[in-house]
Each structure stands twice: as structure tokens, then as C-alpha cells.
């Protein structure tokens, strides 16, 4: 996250990526690229509309990892 977001924001599972952290949709997609690298997965963009919070993101990653 630090590579993408320059401002300091306290993060919790319920932090909203766009509303609270101020990420643009492009930055969310770039964050997904980093996550894909970390977990060696491909994360379809189709899942992004369902993701608002860090918890949502973690749950969706878990779904992809389980597949």
C-alpha cells in the first residue's frame, strides 16, 4: 500500500479503499497488480465492483486462492 498511497492513513479491515484511503479506481487496479504478484494469482477485474473495504479485498483474494 505504501508504494501506491503516499498519505498516512490508519488501516483496519473496514477501511474503504476509495472513500477512506482516497484511492482512485486506477490505484485500486494497481494495488491488485501488486497483490497478484505477491500471491501468484490472477485476480479478474470483474470482482472489483464488489470490493469496497480491505476486508472485501481479503475475502475476494481468499476466493481466488481457493479456486
Amino acid at each position: 500500500m505504501d508504494r501506491i498511497i503516499k498519505e498516512s492513513v490508519a488501516l483496519s479491515a473496514d477501511t474503504e479503499l476509495q472513500e477512506d484511503v482516497g484511492m482512485t479506481s486506477l490505484q485500486v487496479m494497481d494495488l491488485v497488480l501488486e497483490i497478484e504478484e505477491e500471491f501468484d494469482i490472477s485476480f479478474p477485474l470483474n470482482r472489483l465492483p464488489d470490493i469496497r473495504t480491505i476486508r472485501d479485498l481479503a475475502q475476494e483474494i481468499a476466493v481466488v486462492l481457493d479456486q
Binding site: 482512485t24 490505484q27 494497481d30 501468484d40 490472477s42 479478474p44 477485474l45
Partner: protein, 391 residues
């Protein structure tokens, strides 16, 4: 009330520019003086941010053909290609495009946006996969969202990252469409198409290349980046636009897959819109021929591109190392980009201001693009204006 809340951010932006007494977005060209000069918002400016790569927008032969077409066929077709909107000119242009690209089929669309969006939305569907370059144009992103396919983004111009994602797909690669561009519109960087085509072959996927900014600019006869990379045989679909090098408006897709003809019945962007006006088709046909007959335009374009790239680089501006007709100056701060755009405009240079989210990342851009019609002196004037900007 709540329906309009989301537009508040745009109102803030408009207010911001109104306070500055300027509006870079949607500046009005009050009078065109030539392919490279105009009166814009009351100022005489050198046009340094168009996509008029070959400078054909005032070609007398193209103008005469458009005038004749209006007189003979009227101002508009008033209907879809599928209904009453297929005129002889549309069919002839499709035939000429297929001959030019040496493909079995060509399909016209009414704009470049609808060509790219429509093909991206139609070629792959539910249960299939689209792999797209991260810096793809908005028309590609919009199209793939409509497709219903699984959409996976790979790192910009990174064949290794593309291959990694194809490998993860296993047998699904046979039902995968890879979408890339020839020259990317904002930074002017060129896709590593030879490597991408090799990976496409290895995994048995389909490849679509958007040549919007490379038609007329690269390759033999200006056939584009796929031709320049020698991968036309590996390119399943080429899409492009008439609104840049061919100085009109409209789009196309060409392919050796005979199924492209059937796309006419499946692509909603083709079916549910009026076809291009006869005058547009007429001037496009002339421009397509002139592009092939006048290779010196392409030579001059690249000469101008090298001059501007070299001069802006020498000024110490943040310019990427590759040379192309799009020369983008990056700034970390949006405020600096806006101020520089205003100063350039006051000095008679009209470039494109690109700020996030339209830019590929968090930086802002002063996107310059050259034309074959620019003189050496005009390129020097553009550079001179940049040299006066202060950090």
C-alpha cells in the same frame, strides 16, 4: 439530489479553472488556419496536441471528394448499416481496407471508439478470458466490461507478465483474447509486439492490436505497429480509427478470420448506431490512398518527432526515452502541469493537458504530438515556449 452528488467533483474542477480564468478541457477552435495553426479561445496558436499525424485534414483532393459525396448522397445516411445505412462508399472502403491490410475481411464502425469498444465487447464472452494491457485505452476497458468475459490486466508492455498470466489459465488460453495497442496514446510508447506475438503463438490465444495511433505512422505503407514488427500473420484482429492519420472520423476492424463478417450481426456498437456520413467515407478513402502514395509524409513526421523529442529532452524536461510522434512531458504535480499548460497557451502553443485519472498513473502530462505538416520552425517555437517554463 443524491443522483447528482457524484458530479460534484466535476463542478469543483470547473470552479477551480473558472477562478484561474482558463479552461483547458474543451477549448474552442474558432477558426482553423491550417493543419498546424488555429484561433483557439481567441488566441492564435500552433496546434501541438492533435492526432493529425500526416496533416491531411486540409488536403484538396480529400475535401473535393467529401464535397462531391455530400452533393450526390446527402449529409447523412440516417440509419444503421444493418438497416438503410449501407451505401456503396461503405462497401468500397471496406474492400480497400481489406486490400490495404491484405486481410479477408474488413468492417467499418462509425467511430474509432465504437470499433475498439465494440470488438472488445464482442469477441470474447462469458466463460472466456480477456487479457488486456494495464494502460489500455478507455474504449477497451469499456468494451471488456460489457463482454461478460473474465477480465485480467497485465503489466503495461510487459510480455513476461502476460506470459505468467497465460500460464495460470491452463487450457483456458484457447478461449483467451489478448488486447494491446500499437502506440499508446498518452505516452507514445510502442508495444513489444514481436514478443507478445510469440507468447500468443505459444499459448494458442487470439491477439487484437489497436492501431489507432500507429496507422499511417509505422510499418510499410503506414500499415501500423503490427506490420513494423512483422507480426501481421499472428495478429487475429486489427482495430483502428480514421480520426488521426486519415483526418476524418470512424473506425475499422480487419481480420483474416472469416468470422469477422459475422461480427456485424453480434456487435451492438455496429448494429445500433447510424453509419458514417457519405462525406466522411469519401475523404477517408482519399486519405487512405494518399497515405500509401506519399511515404514522405511519414518520413517528415518522424523527423519532426525526433526534433521535438531531442529538444525537449535537452531542456531537462521529464520525457520518456523512446521517440514517437507523441512526446509527453511528465510533471509530478497537477498544479505545475496546469500552470505550464496556461503559460504555453499564452505563448501560442496548444498542447493537451492530461491529469489523473486520464493519465496512466498519478502524474500529469503535457501531451505534445507532432504532425508531418509542422515546419522545423514550428517545432522550434514549441521548444522555445517550453524553455521559458519555470518549476
Amino acid at each position: 439530489m443524491s443522483l447528482f452528488e457524484k458530479f460534484g467533483q466535476y463542478q469543483e474542477m470547473c470552479d477551480y479553472f473558472e477562478q484561474r480564468g482558463t479552461m483547458p478541457f474543451g477549448a474552442v477552435t474558432e477558426r482553423s488556419l491550417s493543419s498546424t495553426e488555429a484561433i483557439v479561445n481567441g488566441h492564435r496558436v500552433i496546434l501541438a496536441g492533435t492526432n493529425n499525424y500526416l496533416g491531411l485534414n486540409f488536403d484538396p483532393e480529400a475535401i473535393a471528394a467529401a464535397q462531391r459525396a455530400i452533393e450526390e448522397s446527402g449529409t447523412g445516411t440516417t440509419g444503421s448499416r444493418m438497416a438503410n445505412g449501407t451505401f456503396a462508399g461503405h462497401v468500397l472502403l471496406e474492400r480497400e481496407l481489406a486490400e490495404f491490410f491484405n486481410t479477408k475481411a474488413a468492417v467499418l464502425f462509425s467511430t474509432g471508439y465504437s470499433a475498439t469498444m465494440g470488438m472488445s465487447a464482442t469477441l470474447a464472452g462469458p466463460g472466456e478470458v480477456i487479457l488486456l494491457d494495464a494502460d489500455s485505452h478507455a474504449s477497451i476497458y469499456d468494451g471488456v466490461r460489457l463482454s461478460g468475459a473474465e477480465i485480467i490486466r497485465f503489466r503495461h508492455n510487459d510480455p513476461a507478465d502476460l506470459e505468467k498470466r497465460l500460464r495460470r489459465l491452463g487450457k483456458r488460453t484457447e478461449k483467451t483474447l489478448i488486447i494491446v495497442e500499437g502506440i499508446y496514446s498518452m505516452l507514445g510508447d510502442i508495444a513489444p509486439l514481436a514478443e507478445i506475438a510469440a507468447i500468443k503463438r505459444k499459448y494458442g490465444a487470439c491477439l487484437m492490436v489497436d492501431e489507432a495511433h500507429s496507422l499511417g505512422v509505422m510499418g510499410d505503407d503506414g500499415r501500423g505497429a503490427a506490420a513494423a514488427a512483422g507480426i501481421e500473420a499472428d495478429t487475429d484482429f486489427i482495430v483502428g480509427t480514421f480520426s488521426k492519420s486519415l483526418a476524418s472520423i470512424g473506425g475499422y476492424c480487419v481480420s483474416n478470420h472469416p468470422e469477422l463478417e459475422l461480427v456485424r450481426f453480434a456487435a451492438r456498437a455496429y448494429i445500433f448506431t447510424a453509419s458514417a456520413s457519405p462525406s466522411v467515407i469519401a475523404s477517408t478513402r482519399v486519405a487512405l490512398r494518399l497515405m500509401q502514395q506519399r511515404p514522405e509524409l511519414r518520413k517528415q513526421l518522424w523527423k519532426n518527432a525526433r526534433q521535438l523529442h531531442e529538444q525537449l529532452t535537452e531542456l531537462g524536461l521529464q520525457v520518456d526515452s523512446h521517440v514517437s510522434p507523441v512526446v509527453a512531458v511528465k510533471t509530478e504535480s497537477m498544479e505545475t502541469a496546469i500552470r505550464w499548460w496556461e503559460e504555453l497557451f499564452q505563448k501560442g502553443i496548444f498542447v493537451n493537458l492530461v491529469i489523473p485519472p486520464a493519465s496512466p498513473s498519478t502524474y500529469s502530462l503535457l501531451r505534445c504530438s507532432v504532425s508531418a505538416a509542422h515546419s522545423t520552425e514550428q517545432i522550434q517555437q514549441i521548444t522555445d515556449a517550453f524553455s521559458t517554463l519555470t518549476a
